[in-house]
Symmetry: C2
Subunit: 630 residues, 2 copies
């Protein structure tokens, strides 16, 4: 995890930034400002003020007793059940029902419980309010005078929920109730009753978050009581043999009907194995996992669900749906609780998928005051720009520029990979992973090498290597590294193998590699510059650039600015956000409000289609150059 936690941003993400009111807790004197309409219970949880509760703010336990010194809102029906008239008159209320509409002072409750909040995503504080909850119930046994059915008995004990029940649950319900003397734990996801377990099992409450990537799939087992990850595992997507990118996977499915079946089976196998791994690591029975959240791009999501992806791969690029129905986790091949539910992140466009929605959630893009630019760099690059007022997003086909596999001496970020370059006093300094002899260039190294050569002038702003005579004059010691290969392509040699029997093993940057990077960064820059136009803002006003995706964590902000991948901003504004898709998936398990925020993005975030624009090609050509040195 590569999270940048900015403490000044904590709380801000979750809150609407306007319409705040003051709330002071006595006798401690703790004073906070919160959005109007938030309950005292939520405001307390949020700010680390301990308010007792066993139902998690559902109005059933009636333990969250507070007294509002002045200006209490009218008593609700539940307040009437918890207090007598005298108590109500002097301001006693249930904290989970008392909305703060104006400045208030409340008497701090005596009992203390752990403040239920967790920090996830990019400095986001999330109040723990999982869709998954357990309630321990001691039900009255039926008598001739009390002949409510088993289900009515359960429903009456959870009257704050409008429970949906599937017939499968009813099958063993009569027996479970009687074998446990009507002392059971109800397991609820959102408002679906998915299990009734004998005795009190409330101690174990787990969910699984998946970041379903084209290359790598990551699974995090979360303890939803505490909001903490219990185990994390990752592995390559088993679909790899069908191609490295989404287009090759779609093509495979199009050519051959069985390939679709196979791709779906492989995605599910990947998910299933990861679920087994994290459960084994945490020593948890997989049947105690009741919910999963999956964030992936549209193609990965459709393939995992078995939805024919063909129209995603050909113009006009249409996905089957933006929002997916909630479904049984078993439909994803997962072997967890037999009635475990799965929630799949919605997508904003065929190439702005659930991974990006998760990423926008994790970074608080739609809730933050600041004007921010979100870029997930990859073969398909997704870009979002805006603040809580308005967000626009788009997809830019960046091509293979950022895939080390596509550059001549490219390699993955492993021992021997050049990850950065510095040129000082006509000398080359290479940073090599593992510090041994360089054997190739990794993706972020490629960006860094080109950026440095641009900085010193060995590559000009049009992307061409300096002419030999110019180079010889300015870089007497480095000029010899500029060579012309037999194929007549010019290269810049970064490392010449010392061993004579490895004569061909020199590591170099080819002119073609530079061009690839130009195309990639031009596509991305065209994306964000057109989004800036769409919002009517100047790129210089952007207050933060978030580089998302595991690859982006390794790009140096200075290099990103120098090649024009991001706008020319002060470097502290450029931040690596890490695996935000996975963080978003975790947040969706931790907070049902966050989950609703994901759905809300479908209407809040505008998708801008770049290829429709008449000026796209002109803008793209403009962006091909590297920024002139200032």
């Amino acid at each position: 995890m590569n999270l940048v936690t900015d403490p000044s941003e904590a709380h801000r993400g979750q809150l609407e930034p306007h319409g705040r009111v003051g709330l002071r807790f006595e006798p401690s004197g703790t004073a906070v400002r919160i959005p109007a309409g938030v309950t005292v219970f939520d405001a307390g949880s949020w700010n680390g003020i301990a308010i007792d509760s066993t139902c998690g703010g559902h109005g059933t336990c009636k333990k969250c007793r507070i007294r509002i010194a002045d200006g209490a809102s009218p008593a609700t029906e539940l307040d009437g059940q918890a207090y007598n008239e005298k108590e109500l008159a002097v301001g006693w209320r249930l904290a989970c029902r008392a909305q703060v509409q104006s400045d208030l002072v409340v008497e701090e409750p005596l009992l203390a419980t752990r403040p239920k909040a967790a920090t996830v995503g990019v400095g986001r504080q999330v109040i723990l309010r999982p869709a998954l909850q357990k309630r321990y119930l001691e039900l009255d046994e039926p008598t001739l005078q009390d002949r409510r059915t088993d289900l009515e008995r359960l429903r009456n004990a959870m009257e704050d929920l409008k429970l949906r029940v599937e017939v499968d649950l009813l099958r063993r319900l009569p027996r479970v109730l009687r074998e446990s003397s009507f002392q059971v734990t109800a397991v609820v996801v959102d408002e679906t009753l998915i299990a009734v377990e004998p005795g009190d099992t409330t101690e174990s409450l787990h969910g699984l978050a998946f970041d379903l990537g084209t290359t790598t799939v990551v699974s995090t087992l979360l303890d939803l009581q505490t909001g903490t990850p219990v185990a994390v595992a990752s592995k390559l997507n088993h679909q790899q043999p069908f191609g490295a990118d989404v287009i090759s996977r779609i093509s495979a499915a199009v050519v051959d009907d069985e390939a679709l079946t196979r791709l779906t089976a492989l995605a599910r196998q990947t998910l299933r194995e990861l679920a087994e791994e994290v459960c084994a690591e945490a020593d948890l029975d997989p049947r105690e996992v009741y919910e999963v959240a999956v964030a992936g791009n549209v193609t990965m999501t459709q393939l995992a669900l078995g939805i024919d992806p063909e129209p995603v791969g050909v113009a006009p690029f249409i996905s089957a749906t933006r929002a997916y129905p909630e479904l049984p986790a078993s439909e994803l091949g997962l072997e967890l609780h037999p009635r475990a539910r799965a929630t799949v992140f919605p997508s904003l466009g065929a190439y702005v998928g659930g991974d990006i929605v998760a990423g926008l959630l994790a970074t608080g893009m739609t809730r933050d005051r600041r004007l921010r630019l979100f870029i997930d760099v990859g073969t398909n690059c997704e870009i979002a720009l805006g603040s809580f007022e308005q967000i626009v997003c788009t997809a830019a086909p960046a091509g293979p520029a950022f895939e080390a596999a596509q550059i001549r001496c490219g390699m993955r970020a492993a021992f021997g990979a050049i990850e950065s370059l510095r040129i000082r006093d006509d000398e080359l300094e290479l940073d090599v992973i593992g510090e041994g002899e360089p054997v190739g260039i990794c993706g972020s190294g490629h960006v860094d090498v080109v950026a440095e050569l641009v900085r010193v002038g060995l590559i000009d702003s049009s992307g061409r290597f300096a002419a030999n005579d110019v180079a010889a004059k300015q870089f007497p010691r480095l000029a010899s590294r500029l060579m012309t290969q037999e194929s007549e392509e010019r290269v810049f040699v970064l490392h010449e193998s010392a061993a004579t029997d490895h004569a061909t093993d020199s590591v170099y940057l080819a002119q073609r590699d530079v061009r690839e990077l130009q195309f990639g960064k031009a596509s991305i820059a065209t994306g964000w510059s057109l989004l800036a136009e769409e919002l009517g803002i100047d790129a210089a006003d952007i207050q933060q650039v978030l580089l998302a995706g595991s690859f982006s964590s390794f790009i140096s902000p200075a290099s990103a600015v120098r090649i024009g991948l991001v706008p020319p901003l002060p470097l502290p504004r450029i931040v690596a956000a890490g695996n935000v898709a996975g963080e978003g998936a975790k947040m969706a398990l931790l907070s049902i409000q966050v989950r609703h925020a994901a759905t809300a993005m479908l209407s809040e975030v505008d998708y801008v289609e770049l290829s429709d624009r008449a000026d796209f090609n002109d803008r793209f050509v403009e962006q091909l150059s590297f920024p002139e040195l200032s």
Copy 2:
């Protein structure tokens, strides 16, 4: 089917009997009175006034054009789409949106379609508004300018519905849309999109109704376009080997876990075979059946669904639930459309099940003005009493009195069964099924034989056979038929076998048989008399008695009165209602409103527990006697 259709009752069942307004169609002059709030479209359909429509009154086809001469209600948004301002100003409206709130005159539309209503149940007229509907859609193909997802495209074409979609449907959606050039038929049950089929398949719209009885299961294949049954089949419930009644089936399941699995499998086998039979008879591909409705008693329902029935069989007699969730038909073992839905009738109590709710629907008990008594005679007898104002119901354990298998010379209603008896001028007249030599007494014959012997005095009001001397004096020719068997039990011989080699084959009524009938009818009479008390009414005020169940169709009203099974009412008020459970199941398929009425019964109908009542035994003993002859 044994339906008594009372034309004067048509319409009345469906309607709330108060708050009516007048509606006249011009130029035909047809005038009707309808409940306020009904749409012109519904009122027209109902009364055989042809109003054009292809969407079935959903506001999408905009073909149901009418002009309201005076007093038109404000135009709705849909009216605004269908008409210009001038047209709206002179009263043009969509009939499906125009609610009649006061007396109105409307111009009869020119185009004519078949009035969509069907007569089912006991003289009930049901407007065809199935939960199952098909819509043929010609969708725009996606372009670079119109990149809505496949599902959005579908949803937008059916904006009047808030469609739920399961992930399974999405799997082939992209392909189906493209292979059919985006000309598809959407199949919707309630608000669940269950299929998208290539081309226009609206011609075929079928549902399956099941009357799931303990003994016999009946299946009716319905054409939901016309409301007519296409094929009917019945067969013995394959669970028979586990016992004839619900208690023996429950006991089997309790003793042995595998028996529950087996009973569930057998119920499903029965349903599946019946579905196959009716589809074969109608030459219909079972995959064209999209919905089923199942009405059964609580035990049969729970067993078919695989829900452990043990608590239903032991005090305090608790069922798992009153209302069942809608479920895939495949969960009932049915092999129909892979996403076909099943709706299972709710129950009012552990022994007043979905079959009775269906029966109350079919007889319009909760909608009828008249004070009516509903009795479903059987081992478990269900009784309901009331009118649209209030209904109470109860269950009375009648025992095996009405099961021919439990009387000495009992037999099922087949060739050779005595089905009725008349005594005139000291002569015995027997009605025998098939008119051959009598070989036994069927269930309804048992009632009839006892009633006739009571009428003439051969059985006294306490249920004893007349003393030999009394009989000899009054019935010189019949007295010899009163004999005492070797077991010292007195019997009345109905038929002496003529053949000497069949000496033991005489058909007789035993004293014990009379006692069984007394217990059974006393239980039932205690039931309705206590319900009458509950409502504060006199049994003499009951305007109609409905005898439900296939057996009751054969009971003579006169005999039912004579033994005290029903209150002493004028005979025309006593009506055999036939297989009302099956009728109710059909109605639930034909009309979503009727289906909602079934759910509404859970709050509208009060279940009265007889065994709680301190005076139950006293009342039972009072009812043991046969009514004194007046």
